[in-house]
């Protein structure tokens, strides 16, 4: 005879399906990203302090050139956004490469949930932790460089921030799927996408200074458009914006939707290609 308690214990666990499964996978990955980042104090220094130190050099360069103070505010906003771009590259784009190197990538593919739920969780966790860490840059801007921000429309700021982050992290999800194929190249591609993207996005200067190249960048790189929009909300005329704010918000919305679809498509295609070429779990290529 089997006792009722034993029967209950041996019964198959109730399976979570559909939306609830994806939701739980996403929140679980968000939790891991947040808790994991807090457990490594050295990375807090790298993610929070270093981008701000880089920003200081550019602010002091404006000062050395005798430029109007409003340019320093432009560089400070760029410095704060640089932390998010680094997180998109190294925390999203290269994440599946790290997982492959650690021998954990196969667990992602064996899990019952979709990869998009896992990537969305990583993105949410990345935005939250980087937002917390950007406090260092904000503090430097306000109390060390005395950047003045007046009469900010909080609603517009929230809208532009959310839509910029969606576009950026959707791009990160696309990159992460591309890096499924890569070995050492993933590291080099992330390196190659740092300073060049800073330049074409006008991270430390108004993108309008690039002339036609600035318009081309705004049409291709979400960081360029999002940064310009955030500067316009925060600094108004001193931002020396590229396009009217509503147009930039519309462009960011298009970026967000397009990259989310692209990420989903690329993930499916490149997962199949990686399996076909036997690279999915191949370390140290």
């Amino acid at each position: 005879m089997t006792a009722p308690d034993d029967l209950a214990r041996d019964a198959p666990p109730q399976r979570t399906r559909g939306f609830m499964l994806e939701w739980r996978a996403m929140t679980a990955r968000t939790y891991v990203r947040i808790v994991g980042s807090l457990r490594e104090p050295a990375w807090i220094f790298t993610d929070a302090v270093l981008p701000s130190l880089g920003m200081c050099s550019y602010v002091l360069m404006y000062r050395a050139l005798g430029a109007p103070r409003s340019y320093e505010a432009v560089a400070v906003v760029g410095g704060i956004l640089s932390a998010f771009w680094l997180n998109v590259l190294w925390g999203m784009g290269a994440q599946l490469y790290w997982e492959k190197q650690q021998g954990q990538l196969q667990l992602y593919f064996a899990a019952p949930c979709s990869r998009m739920a896992i990537l969305t969780g990583m993105a949410l966790g990345g935005v939250l932790t980087t937002t917390l860490r950007s406090i260092v840059g904000v503090s430097l801007g306000l109390w060390v460089f005395h950047v003045r921000v007046t009469a900010v429309d909080v609603g517009a700021l929230a809208l532009v921030f959310v839509i910029t982050m969606t576009a950026l992290y959707a791009l990160g999800m696309t990159l992460s799927s591309l890096f499924l194929l890569y070995g050492r190249e993933a590291w080099h591609v992330c390196n190659a996408l740092t300073e060049p993207v800073y330049f074409v996005s006008g991270l430390f200067f108004p993108i309008r200074a690039l002339g036609t190249l600035g318009y081309v960048s705004a049409a291709l790189v979400p960081l360029a458009l999002g940064l310009d929009a955030l500067r316009q909300v925060l600094l108004h005329g001193a931002a020396r914006g590229l396009l009217p704010l509503p147009i930039e918000i519309g462009g960011l919305f298009v970026f967000a939707v397009a990259f989310l679809f692209l990420a989903r498509f690329a993930l499916e295609r490149l997962e199949a290609l990686s399996k076909h070429e036997g690279r999915l779990t191949l370390r140290s290529q």
């Binding site: 050295a42 270093l50 404006y62 050395a64 050139l65 790290w98 300073e195 800073y198 200067f205």
Partner: protein, 280 residues
Amino acid sequence: MRTFVTRLRSATWLGWQLDSNWTDPFLFLVYTVLRPLATGLILAGIFWAVGSRARTPEAFAGFWLANAFHNFVNQALVGMGYAVVEEREEYETLKFVVVSPVGMFTYLAGRAVVKLAMAVIGVVMLLAIGAWLLHLRWPATGAHLGPLALTLALGVAATVSSGFLVAGLGLSMPRAAINVNEGIMVGLYLLCGVIFPIDLLPRALQNVSLALPFTYWYEALRRFTLGHGASARLGAWSDGTLLAALAASTLAFVLLGRYGYLALERRARRLGRLDQTTLF
């Protein structure tokens, strides 16, 4: 000596393979120049943005010049730190290098040779871009080629010596090695006044800056190439005093690099950290 040269040549060849064989030569060349080019273009973007509103635009040439030579620091100095990270964490081959006849010190010297060559490519390209795109002139009227050659030699010696120190830190601090490398790269860019005079730093940081050979290196490069430096504080020094400060700080870093590295390597061995992987 002949043994050292043979081992150095082997280490250099291996370093070249490690750095470059992940792609074809053309793409590798593009990759090598992409980052330094972009950092230069960011400065150009700032210059274009400010335009006629700058009160002291003549300072820009000095910033561009120092930023170009800072490529040595990014490539060679920090690159030697990353060589340790790659060998230990990514390829897990550091232990084999340690027990090989080449040894870690000569191996790192070989890696440095490759990275210095890559840095030279970046510097030459940045100087050429500056001349072509921004009409900057090198060397300008008033340049002193003799002291400039001495300055270059001292700067390269300081770079490689500091690279050994960074590599030693990487050996003894496995978990934080990447953070140390990144911190040094950004920290030196700020502390040594690459793109602004150190006079703009708070006084305490200026004193830290004056303990580093690269501060004198960038100032001397500006002075002997363009005929003027950037810092009012260092501008009061004669050419001889500036060169003496560069030579003295370089000598200190050469000694620190040599003996500091060996001490750090011994420490890493004693603590069992030589092949301790923490990332992958």
